[in-house]
Symmetry: D2
Subunit: 349 residues, 4 copies
């Protein structure tokens, strides 16, 4: 089969690999469509120590090609989506309710990090009965793809933010995860959604998805503006960028008792994340910092699908570019260089 | 002043009373608009032991007429709304976070139950700094009125239902509280909202407010239909009617681990409420029953106002009839007899 | 192998059965010790529709005899305990965090209800990597046995009761589950633990385990006495008996905002459970009813073991009688007739 | 009256001041006993900008000397304790359930910070009906004093740590707040309590209060030792010192999904608090950081009293030294220099 792989730091390409085999409790999926993630770009830049030839990608849907012994809920030919996080369901973190940390820190992130990813004609899925989610007949592959990572990650950002009904929330950055957090904040009943974004096209999409105000951090003082809009600070802030500055601003914009919900990836060259102490009440201000990785599992996927089916929002507005799999190099290059206001490129097989 | 009062079981009328006086920490409001509540109808029918001449009503807005010593946040002339529940903020239940139970069971429900209500030209508000909420300049009295009871009660029904994002919820009855619970369920991110209502106009409004499906209990088997729609039961059910049958159905339609959130008033002639044991897992099915009264306080009112200001929904669609205060008898009569598909009658002063 | 089995309503006996086989992901345990549960008595009385020859028992420990393909955490010869509830870890309720309801209502209760139980020389365990728990070397079989059901059930009663630190709780009945709930209430930091029990030996053990007061329901008015002790009602009540009267009293003794945590089995001949409405605030008193089944899984078992290892309490005080497996009939008979103040009989193999 | 006051950075002394007056809703207490807090030492060192003559102290009990208009629950002569935090009960943070942040960040900390403290013969208490707590007749002043700050602060550390029953917790530093957190962790049902402390007397008292293991940070590698004891990290860590190093270690010792509960004061000369990113899962490890100030209010005080009355622990073991008020200078000097293994000095009037 053909697969889009890491070929050394900064290098990628389509290579030929053997179709994976479905072991006990597992499945193999024939891919029909994928999205490329900014994480793939980070990975290629060298943030994970990977062998050459490791397949990239973790946002794919397809059709069950083979199932291993022990799989009872799915059959060959079923149309399925698979979350970027694929917990086992059995280990201690899974039993404790932190399935994203399956087997250890960030352990449910198996694609690319622990085995081949799914930007390939076929891919392997562990614990298929836990991780496969049937795509409803009326749902397109493109719609289903957004549940595999963007919506699940953005939504957990909003869920962990614990926004009171009618409360205020500030969402830093409106890339696809931040946009999904905006959708999520609207779904959780925020009464004032403040997005922080400088790119006009992303700002416009944020408004479509529910942002009441968009602050441009290039031209406005974000913290001052939030204080002006809220009086006493926001109930919550969602960090969807992954930078020291936005993280600090999250602490600064929330009121005492507020929550910072971090879903940004802080892996780009700094080893500590600084909390500004004055605005943190010197460690006694009832401010809470929560952190999350994409949440997997069929049951959650089914709920995300339901929201799309009942038309609460249209995730495909994030698809700015479309490619066939033989153009995957070009799609990746655009993501790497953030060309042409790309948000998400859809890859079809 | 003129006031609409209880004059014995089944009897009401406008009477003359002295304008109340603002004691320590309290305020007196000159009423500008009110809504009549079904609870007023219950009260007149004899559910509360009341002295003759007790003023009815608990959904009013107005202008501060007088403030008592100790009130610091408001001044005479301020335009304010007051929630139906007016907690003190100091007693044990208030300190424990159950302000609706201020001073004892259902104790925050002071209007009519413990002192004169606010279907009158003037009314008294205890603990004004806790209970007055400034109405934003751009908001109409009619909009603000819905925050005093309907939205606050319906929303707590949705909040206590603890609906997971994309989850399913069944809301029994679509009177104004049930309709508000439907709005609330949409605000909390339910992926499938099933309303149960037989009246076509209420069913239509439920759809406008977010119901994906409306089941007619006169012609359909509610429990069977929910099972068909959800597969394994709903994540939550909200009881917004107050009847044994709907309460039982709430237990029946939820899946194990689900929540019944009761906001219906069960004061109409039965002394026990029965839980069907088979569907309750014989008391071990991880089903939870929660109960709530309208939630008061300025901070919550401000959040409800914010949702109206950011146009998340339009509560005034529930206003089916409009009257001046000198027609209050007629308005009450229509509520009592549920004439002309009345949902909420607006009374202006 | 020899097994203690249901032989028709009211009939039991030791029969010969084939040693079970370990299928995929499963294990077979050679039993070394068991406890008999009151649930076994209920079952024999006919509360579950069972085939004759179904093995009884769900509280056993032993040594791994065989493991099926796919099991990676355990090896033949390991000393293990198995919780009475054995979830799969993969189904929707398991993914939602309600593993006791695995696959459907009460579905984690597989022993006896869905397959042979473990009052037998060998027994089968599904999903071994989820459900086996290694017994620490220094821990006796007898200590470990209490984690399989009594402590896990009693503790979830205390956990779901959500007792504030220093709060008050009333625990109805001090059988082994109620005694475990008393231990659990003390572990969660209750400041006033009121046990309700008429038998002197159980009352004495309740005091040893942490009850500050024991009310005798035969000679005292339980509700009045709790009100006298607490002033305004208890923060929580735990129903550990399974009767209409104690359930009603639970509602009555808690204050508004309080929690009733039901762990009693209400399967003895009544089809509805009545809530007294006046004390339930007519459905608006912020009173919550929660229900639970024994909680399984290795991770929880490990935590229960840790509490025993750090000597927080001694569960073996509940062992009032000791038998070898060839006396199991006699032990069961004593449980059935509640002879000689029996609390728990230990069976050794 | 005589009062122990701040007289400029580094300077203290007993001065003469007018007895305070009870305004509306307030009370004045005649002090009978006090404890000195390390916070007083910090304050004198210059961490708060204070006027000279501001009275120090926030841990006092006494007898009601005068009540203002509006106070209904207490009378002159009542024996009362007052928490170090005295919320108003009415402002937005109080209504939101974050009363410690009354009126704004750390705002419930009124003594010394916003007005005279209570190391004086008399002191003023705002919102007396919220903040006075009657001392039970059988309780000594010394016992009651520990509820005013040490226990309330240490316990909120344990409560916010959200320790699962039987879970593991590491408590950094065993000063009086850390010791109280140890008591709190035991009360919440931790199965393994690991204290970190180098001073032998404090280590010994930690063991008395429930620590299963005490790690000496001078001679042991704390993080390595916790990993050895727990296998995969602790469920929670409590920071009760206020230093960058212990805060970092909190992040390092917890497992993914774990909680850092900070109650240490980070006001000593650093403006940011660093989170080590690798152990924080790069911001995606489901690790939560919570922060709290002492929790006030009568209802909580009553629960703390109840725990002392039912003999769950003896807080007076922390009293290492005793003084009369005319020796307060000497007591403060000992606290400032941490002489003679002082933990808490009791001051009687």
């Amino acid at each position: 089969m053909k697969a889009f792989a890491f070929l050394g730091v900064g290098k990628v390409g389509v290579i030929e690999k053997a179709i994976p085999v479905a072991g006990l409790n597992d499945a193999v999926i024939r891919t029909t469509a994928s999205l490329i993630c900014t994480s793939d770009v980070h990975t290629v830049a060298g943030t994970l120590p990977l062998p050459e030839g490791r397949v990239l990608g973790h946002e794919s849907v397809g059709v069950v090609h083979a199932i291993g012994e022990g799989v009872t809920r799915f059959r060959v030919g079923d149309r399925v989506a698979v979350n970027a996080a694929t917990p086992c369901g059995h280990c201690n973190p899974c039993q404790r309710g932190f399935a994203a940390q399956c087997g250890g820190m960030l352990g449910a992130y198996k694609f690319t990090a622990q085995k081949d990813g799914n930007l390939a004609e076929y891919f392997h899925v562990n614990d298929a009965d836990y991780n496969l989610a049937a795509i409803p007949a009326a749902m397109t592959d493109e719609q289903a793809l957004y549940a595999t990572d963007m919506l699940s990650t953005g939504f957990v950002g909003a869920e962990y933010a614990d926004i009171p009904i009618g409360g205020s929330v500030v969402i830093f950055a409106q890339g696809p995860v931040g946009l999904s957090a905006t959708i999520g904040a609207k779904l959780r009943g925020a009464g004032l959604i403040i997005a922080v974004e400088s790119k006009p096209d992303r700002a416009a999409l944020a408004r479509t998805y529910g942002a009441d105000v968009v602050i441009n951090p290039r031209t406005e003082d974000v913290v001052a503006r939030v204080m002006e809009l809220t009086g006493d600070g926001a109930d919550a802030a969602i960090e969807a960028l992954g930078s020291q500055e936005t993280f600090s601003n999250c602490i600064k914009v929330i009121k005492p008792g507020g929550v910072v919900s971090n879903i940004g990836y802080h892996g780009d060259g700094y080893s500590t994340l600084e909390i500004p102490l004055a605005e943190f009440g010197l460690g006694m201000g009832d401010k809470t910092i929560r952190t999350a990785l994409c949440q997997g599992g069929r049951e959650r996927m089914d709920r995300l699908f339901r929201l799309i089916q009942t038309k609460r929002f249209d995730p495909t507005l994030m698809t700015t570019h479309r490619f066939s799999f033989d153009q995957v190099d070009q799609a990746f290059e655009m993501m790497r260089n953030k060309q042409d206001n790309i948000i998400k490129p859809l890859i079809t097989f």
